[in-house]
Symmetry: C2
Subunit: 368 residues, 2 copies
């Protein structure tokens, strides 16, 4: 595994060299993890002139190979509460003879940036905001395999919930039960706070579970995901409670399903992100739901649950193969509820069978 991280660091170093910096300081936790194999809380990574160093206030968690930093890194553990690892890393960069240091300006606060300046006044600070995030967009097969396992776990947890009795239970309890099942099936934990939305709440993006109980005739929308070895996936489904969905529920469901399918089918290497968004959005738009639509119809996933690319009307850029994204259009009608359907897929060339669906729970409208 060690080589993977070393190769990633070399790619970042190339970016820095091209930008005129001799060293780089990575502080954003997901970026540290991507390059170092692990990110103890608050740890930063120095890509130095002579040596790469993981600077951490806490000793790393070495109980599992998946939380242990890459062996090829030097580890610098600071005694507790003695300062900011980023400031220590900047001093180490100076000790190594660097005269410039690229920092993550989109993560470092103004205060920390100023502290680095004050301990290393001769170090020229430049920016690498977004550089590691760009490296992270295209995943290797090892990363995709973690996402695939996470998606299987989420599918299992959701499948078990559907077999249980739902009427009368609260959103909060259903969400907690799903999270327990994720962990039962081997997840590190939930990928994000599980959303369970019933009746008038159904279809609200990011709905926080309340004490509302599931009732006959409700739409029930659920969005959950597992974190597996740090990788986060997402699945969302909407169901109807009771034996027969109402006509408006069937119509709305079919519409969102068509939009979601259009989005999925637009996932080909080379497609513009905004075109994927448009494919899904225009189905809902032309049915008169322009106002009810969320800002994005999907986004990348990986070490974070919401990363590049963004599938929005204003998104720049194109999709590459091996980019995992969600496709998750939805409609929420205030006071009535709504529908969301959300899958995690990996962009794959036509020759490899097209987009790989990771979250395989059925998208038929189930009446539970």
């Amino acid at each position: 595994m060690s080589e993977v991280y070393a190769i990633r660091r070399t790619r970042l170093r190339d970016c820095c060299t091209a930008g005129g910096s001799e060293a780089a300081l990575v502080s954003r936790p997901a970026n540290v993890r991507y390059l170092a194999g692990a990110a103890p809380e608050g740890a930063v990574l120095l890509l130095g002139r002579t040596e790469d160093v993981l600077v951490s206030a806490d000793p790393p968690d070495d109980r599992s190979p998946h939380t242990r930093p890459d062996d090829s890194l030097r580890l610098h553990v600071m005694p507790g509460l003695t300062g900011d690892p980023a400031v220590v890393a900047a001093s180490l960069a100076v000790d190594q003879g660097a005269d410039s240091l690229a920092v993550e300006e989109h993560h470092l606060t103004v205060t920390r940036h100023r502290e680095i300046r004050s301990v290393a006044p001769h170090l020229r600070l430049t920016g690498i905001a977004g550089a590691v995030e760009r490296l992270r967009v295209v995943k290797d097969e090892e990363e995709i395999s973690c996402l695939r396992i996470g998606a299987e776990i989420a599918d299992q947890a959701l499948g078990e919930l559907l077999e249980s009795i739902l009427v009368g239970r609260t959103e909060r309890h259903l969400a907690l039960e799903l999270e327990r099942r994720l962990v039962d099936h081997g997840a590190d934990g939930p990928a994000f706070p599980t959303s369970v939305a019933t009746g008038p709440h159904a279809g609200r993006p990011g709905h926080r579970p309340t004490d509302r109980r599931v009732e006959e005739g409700d739409f029930l929308s659920v969005c959950l995901g597992a974190t597996y070895r740090g990788y986060r996936c997402e699945i969302g489904r909407t169901f109807v409670i009771g034996t027969a969905p109402a006509d408006w529920q069937i119509e709305l469901y079919d519409l969102v399903f068509s939009a979601q399918r259009a989005g999925r089918e637009a996932l080909v290497p080379g497609a513009a992100c905004r075109d994927v968004d448009r494919a899904a959005r225009q189905v809902l738009d032309s049915a008169g739901y322009a106002e009810a639509l969320p800002a994005a119809t999907g986004h990348g996933v990986g070490l974070e649950i919401d990363e590049d690319p963004q599938l929005t009307p204003a998104a720049m850029g194109k999709l590459d193969a091996c980019v995992p994204v969600t496709v998750e259009p939805g409609v929420h009608l205030p006071g009535r509820g709504g529908v969301r359907i959300d899958d995690t897929l990996v962009v794959r060339p036509e020759a490899d069978g097209g987009p790989e669906l990771l979250t395989i729970t059925t998208k038929e409208l189930l009446a539970l």
Copy 2:
């Protein structure tokens, strides 16, 4: 309730005026919540020259009076994904005629700070890092009452767990069960990731639950807390599994208990934070555990689980009445396990009965 928030904002405005700024931009979520009564994700608060405005990308969650922003604020909801609320707030400050704006430099990133500069080049940016945090240290009785209810919930959840069978269950499952019970009893959610540590893990601060199962003869240390209306408390206890604790377990427990009691007894208004830390620390120190000690023996709690004051050897400042803190010394012996005992208390004057213990679960060494 509205008045409370308006008074808090007036106090912050006084700080800003004293610092020469006409307006302030608060971006750190717990600070926004403290001053506005609610903090939709990513929302920022402008204390403007003519009007205070909560700028948010999402509409606020108005399902409960406890998540609804203060009515006396103007609410500015941006359409989704159209930019950074902090940048919008800076423009509003300019529209109101401000020529200076105090920002939270310890929270704003370098990138966001630069964007504010570029949309408002004539606005002089100053700093208010830490100003709201200082206002938050001393709590009013409403805030303490939320902490008290949170502590009762945590006590209940822990008490129920102790009545169940523990041997053979994993740390992960016990932690999940505790979190479910917290929510059952009315918590918004856990105040922080619940820590359950068995056998050689026991006593490790911040231990993340693993798949290790509880065994006869283990130390079992548990640390959990409830969030109630945004306020977060903490309780930690250590137990022995089986009928009779070993001699070393009794000795270690008694020692940590004495240290924790010394810390609690040092909580008087006017006491130096470092003296409270020393009171607890020297008990462990003189028994030869100097190396095994954590950096802090306690910390403030409130809208965040770890806020000022810090109880550390290097801490500056004194305790005031109505400051809630944890007292949580512990010893962890690598390979053997250890003991942590953690309470949340409110500093009160002697005349009012001394420190108020919020977490009332017994601290006798229970054999379960």
